[in-house]
């Protein structure tokens, strides 16, 4: 078959060339080195530290089991984002000349924790009757193809802007939502799993905020505008399209998931209603806007979709 213009090779992703020496491995951002040390000390084992054998699904209706399986499958899809994203971000920090060592160490341990979260979410979905490996709606599935690895590694992405949007804003929002899932869970096994993950996510979110706080003083006006643009893009094109909160997906593209999450919430199996999520998102973004303003970044006031 003849090649068409659509088959043309895409533009190569520009990648910085490493200049390894002098190699700084000393501690320069104490807050982040403390997070790294705390992660090592807080290490856990999903197989040993979650009482899987106590997870009793026999008393649940088939409808509840199906709903919980879909809820936790979707959570696996979201958690999976970190598996390719974090190594890309870690490499990017190594490629930037004389970037601090502390984020590199921290990202290495963050990725382990993300791997545990993926396996935990998958295991819970399996326990409730079976992991679902894709959304049923193609347009909703496409939302997950954010190619964060390409963004993080691409030399045309402002690294601090990436960290602001994804490690501070996004991870902070994710933490608040997971705290909500935890508060709403009544099943002891689900609760334990959520609790362990939330403890990790507290450090993940702290990392993003600590790093932008450290870097903000050296940002130019243009840098601040780039950061604000990255925040607006993430909210408008990712979050408010239903990435973390399925009910935000346009055209009811995630209706099946939204319905499942309502059932999962009612059963105390670790989810939230759209109304509860909307409150969390609104409150968090208000706080995030204040924090970014303190760093000289005017975070755009993108309206939160109505629940």
């Amino acid at each position: 078959m003849a090649a068409t213009s659509q088959d043309a090779a895409p533009q190569p992703t520009p990648i910085l060339i490493e200049k390894r020496f002098p190699l700084e491995l000393s501690q320069t951002i104490m807050t982040i080195r403390d997070l790294y040390d705390a992660s090592k000390q807080a290490r856990w084992d999903p197989n040993a530290d979650i009482p899987w054998s106590d997870l009793d699904v026999s008393g649940l209706s088939a409808e509840v089991r199906r709903a919980a399986a879909l809820t936790w499958s979707r959570r696996s899809w979201v958690e999976y984002t970190g598996l390719p994203e974090t190594p890309a971000l870690l490499i990017r920090f190594c490629l930037e000349i004389r970037r601090e060592a502390d984020p590199k160490y921290f990202l290495a341990v963050r990725n382990t924790e993300e791997a545990w979260h993926v396996e935990v979410c998958h295991s819970i979905a399996e326990a409730f009757g079976g992991y679902v490996d894709a959304p049923s709606n193609d347009s909703y599935a496409a939302l997950f193809n954010q190619a964060y690895s390409k963004q993080a590694l691409g030399a045309d992405t402002f690294l601090d802007g990436y960290v602001a949007a994804h490690c501070a804003l996004e991870d902070g929002l994710e933490l608040e939502l997971w705290r909500g899932y935890l508060d709403n869970a009544t099943d002891p096994v689900v609760k334990r799993a959520l609790q362990l993950c939330v403890e990790d996510k507290e450090r993940h979110a702290a990392f993003g905020w600590f790093y932008v706080e450290k870097r903000a003083a050296q940002w130019s006006e243009s840098d601040r505008a780039t950061v604000a643009g990255a925040l607006a893009r993430h909210l408008g094109e990712v979050e408010f399209k239903g990435y973390h909160c399925a009910w935000m997906a346009p055209d009811n593209a995630a209706a099946e998931i939204v319905a499942a999450e309502k059932i999962t919430t009612a059963a105390g199996l670790g989810a939230l209603t759209p109304e509860a999520e909307a409150t969390i998102v609104t409150n968090y973004l208000t706080l995030a806007r204040i924090k970014f303003a303190a760093l000289g970044v005017d975070m755009p006031d993108v309206p939160v979709p109505a629940a």
């Binding site: 910085l16 490493e18 000390q41 190594p87 890309a88 992991y131």
Partner: protein
């Protein structure tokens, strides 16, 4: 005005974006999933699990301490390569939607590499201070990169070739040297560090062989030839050029200075080895690798090195 950073503009696996679904998360290579679980169970913290207070500097001369600082700094540079480069393999596993076991294990493997770098860095610091770069610039070429990042992101570079070169080649050599170091290191703290690192390296090496056992039957003779070439290049151009062992680097003032530092460190029992002790270890490792890859149809030639001869 600061100079623009240098950028590589070549096709990479990232250029085509992401296609996440269907997202398989099941157990597909049980032995590799078990490595992930085993790594999870056996985590350690260089800061708290090494008895740093047992390091008694008064036992050593200034010259020995300076040499040991250099040696452990060099180890940290090499371990750092696994933080800066090897995570590209995980991106490759994800981008090509390979077995989830690979993706999960590699996440924790990168953390282990980070703690190895940290342990080596801390050792250098306790000995008097980490050295940020080779004293002689010429030596940088030998330790700056093994080229894995670029290969892993290259859509045309065989993944199996990378794994065989990096893991079944370079990691296997590194592991045997670490095991050798556990036998000759006398300082109690240096010994703790090499033992702790070696325990992780067991899993790193196993990963490569398990991966290839899973893959080898699906490879064509041409693909096996590519693997063979990659392994030869890793041994001949990277390892035999001094990436892990300074005495193997081309003879020049820079490598001579490193070799001298290694000898003083070894004499002090602080964790290094020397040419005459390491040579048989290196040769035996290469010969074992040769035997282990032979059933795959991979033929390693007889190598020649000025300090070893033919082996």
């Amino acid at each position: 005005m600061s100079a623009q950073p240098a950028v590589l503009l070549e096709p990479t696996i990232l250029d085509h974006g992401e296609n996440r679904f269907p997202l398989d998360l099941g157990v597909r290579i049980p032995r590799i999933r078990n490595l992930f679980h085993s790594a999870t169970k056996n985590q350690w913290d260089p800061k708290t699990d090494i008895d740093w207070h047992l390091l008694d500097l008064s036992k050593y001369t200034d010259e020995q301490l300076m040499s040991a600082r250099e040696y452990w700094s060099r180890r940290a540079w090499a371990e750092y390569g696994a933080i800066s480069e090897s995570p590209a393999l995980q991106i490759r596993f994800c981008q090509e939607r390979l077995e989830p076991d690979l993706q999960l294990f590699f996440a924790i493997r990168s953390q282990e590499e980070a703690r190895h770098a940290e342990a080596c860095y801390l050792m250098a610091e306790h000995l008097g201070g980490f050295v940020e770069q080779p004293f002689v610039v010429d030596y940088q070429a030998s330790v700056a990169t093994h080229g894995i990042r670029r290969m892993a992101l290259d859509p045309n570079f065989s993944l199996e070739a990378i794994i065989v070169a990096l893991v079944c080649g370079a990691e296997e050599i590194a592991f045997d040297v670490f095991r050798h170091l556990t036998e000759i290191t006398t300082d109690p703290v240096a010994l703790q560090v090499v033992k702790a690192v070696m325990r992780d390296e067991v899993r790193h090496c196993a990963f490569g062989w398990y991966f290839m056992a899973h893959r080898i039957k699906s490879l064509t003779p041409d693909e096996i030839k590519v693997i063979e070439n990659a392994l030869i290049i890793m041994i001949e151009k990277v390892e035999m050029n001094g990436y892990h062992s300074a005495w193997l680097a081309p003879d020049n003032p820079a490598s001579n200075a490193e070799v001298n530092a290694d000898r003083l460190t070894w004499e002090a029992g602080l964790g290094a080895t020397v040419e005459e002790l390491e040579k048989p270890v290196f040769v035996a490792t290469v010969q074992r690798i040769r035997r282990q890859v032979e059933p795959w149809g991979v033929v390693l030639p007889v190598f020649e090195h000025a300090k070893i001869g033919a082996f």
